[in-house]
Symmetry: C2
Subunit: 370 residues, 2 copies
């Protein structure tokens, strides 16, 4: 794995923005100089949890570079990820007379990043924004690739836009303020990266579990770097999810349905983990994974304290199946389902039947969490 | 002027969509085949005025090409151009299970086109849409160039996105259902095209006034074609308004302020006409236009039954000036004002002072409508 602290995201071979991975904010100064904030206004958007932890330090730094630094804080949680919160942000920007040259900074997890990016995509037909992800999930997944959006009537990310940030700055120190459940929430996507793209990385995650769970600095840095690289490789080839980017949805078709049926009581990474177990089961049923490979996937997920089965008696298979077919990743009437061709390689398959999905859901309902 | 009925909009020399100008819907069939709607759902979005006039004929045609044709009609008028209407449209699309391969058709004037385009830009992070403009203003201006958006708290187009249509189909027959005030509303932008880009076109508009006001078919077709060409030339060079596209804002800085101060009682083209008179006065004051050229501009605008002065006693110069400085076309603290360097050539100028704008506003307040 690389010792570099920078990944450059390109489009048509032209660099469009960098991901900088650092142990603190020391590298941010040079980045801010390059963004040329002189004479510009910026607004830090964050939530009620993160503001108490990290807002003041970012505020202090930005004050030296921008003409005006505003802040906008909303109540933490998925329930705030709505057009109504975005409208309050628009109001703030209008009252502060933000124009097309001004900039937003998203300081927080996936909800903050998605919502801020969407406001930046749609205020005055698009202004610039910077991602400063503070959760592992946001660092390795949602802050990269320009997907922005909000939920609408309990449909996740139904309203959104593709809008690339000017910079993703990952301050690894922020990951030490996460509690264990929030930290491993991000491990769902990390394990997914290994499963869909890199069997060697998957093995390392299996072997280095105790170092990673202890958040040993160098293990953490290497892991975040490699996951960002894998995400980069996929989104560069297919920035607007017309093809290969869909592979990142491994575990998500079932995962999103579980998330909605559980009314967001389970975290995203937990639902994706359950969804990955179901999709791995389906891949095993189809003969692309051996029983041993499938069982190992369940064990690796479980070893990170993530669920591979649904809480007992809390959901009906029918309800989840119905939600799958209401999910947006539907092409015509066919589901684009992501399967594992082998460990370390995912494929998109449009032939998966409702019956097969039903069996996978039955499996993760009957299966016991280890 | 060309006899062609098609203008192709390019980006980086690649064709991205066509504007087709036809006397009826006869050319639409081939276009729909090319869009390949087989197996797809479409939703025609229109307003309460247009639906009674033109919805059924479009509906009949689309039924032969798409799997499902839904319709969404909202109350006509600028007051409907809000996020609240967009949210009702999202609901309709969700309930009708529209996915990323489905498509919207905007059938109407600028409000319908801007709102539909914005919904298409943001539903599932962007779906395709087609513009079928039914007003002269929409044909020559708002349907071309990918600007989409809605108003927010009485700020015009404060929320929006750049999202290019798949096709702009202009059925000139629709222009005969406009009343005279609605028709000449579009002439404001048409005259602007001559003034900023093509002195010969401006002279033709002056000479052919009676044919155009009678909506003589060939005069109308040629005019719509040339105005679309001028709009194309500008937006192709600068799709996201970072530079030269700003020239299309000639008359709009003052025009938008008048529009807002008059609480939208005057039509857009009327406000732009008043704004053009003010901006032409400013260009004359700066010595780029002679008194004769300036007076001729006022006469040409007036000859099309458009105003060059404000209704008496209805507005304060202070109010309009303040609105100018609240307007979004502000770069830092400087106004990007569009002046005429000569008749047929506009320039962007950042040195125009508040005092100069104040004098121009005083002029259009004291001036009498001819």
């Amino acid at each position: 794995m690389s010792n570099s602290n920078r990944i450059t995201i390109k489009k048509d071979n032209e660099p469009i923005y960098d991901i900088v991975i650092a142990k603190d904010y020391s590298l941010l100064h040079e980045e801010l100089k390059a963004l040329n904030l002189t004479g510009r206004k910026v607004c830090i958007v964050t939530d009620s949890t993160v503001s108490g932890l990290h807002l003041s330090s970012l505020l202090e730094i930005l004050k030296d570079y921008a003409k005006v630094v505003e802040t906008f804080t909303f109540a933490a949680g998925e329930k705030s990820k709505t057009l109504s919160t975005v409208e309050k942000l628009y109001e703030k920007l209008i009252l502060s007379k933000f124009d097309r040259n001004d900039m937003l900074f998203a300081l927080g997890g996936g909800v903050v990043g998605d919502l801020t990016g969407y406001a930046a995509a749609t205020y005055l037909r698009g202004i610039s924004f910077v991602q400063i992800p503070t959760t592992l999930l946001a660092c390795v997944d949602s802050s990269i690739g320009g997907k922005t959006g909000v939920d609408f009537n309990a449909y996740k990310n139904m309203v959104g836009a593709f809008h690339q940030p000017k910079l993703v700055y990952i301050n690894l120190a922020h990951l030490y303020t996460l509690d264990d459940r929030q930290f491993v929430n991000g491990m769902g996507e990390v394990i997914k990266h290994g499963l869909i793209k890199d069997v060697e990385y998957y093995r390392e995650l299996k072997d280095n579990r105790s170092l990673i769970l202890k958040r040993e600095p160098e293990a953490l840095r290497k892991m975040v770097f490699r996951s960002c690289e894998i995400k980069q490789e996929v989104v560069e080839v297919d920035p607007t999810e017309k093809g290969v980017r869909a592979l990142l949805n491994f575990g998500h078709t079932i995962g999103h349905s579980v998330e909605r049926c559980m009314d967001f009581k389970l975290l995203h990474g937990e639902c994706v983990s359950i969804g990955m177990a179901g999709s791995a089961y389906l891949s095993y049923q189809r003969g692309s994974l051996t029983m041993e490979e499938f069982k190992e996937i369940e064990e690796v997920i479980s070893s990170y304290q993530l669920p591979v089965a649904l809480p007992e008696n809390c959901l009906s298979a029918e309800g989840i199946l119905e939600a799958v077919f209401h999910d947006k990743k539907v092409d015509g009437d066919k589901i684009k389902f992501i399967l594992l061709k082998e460990v370390g390689e995912a494929v998109m398959d449009s032939t998966v039947t409702g019956e097969e999905i039903r069996k996978a859901i039955d499996y993760i309902m009957k299966s016991k969490n280890k």
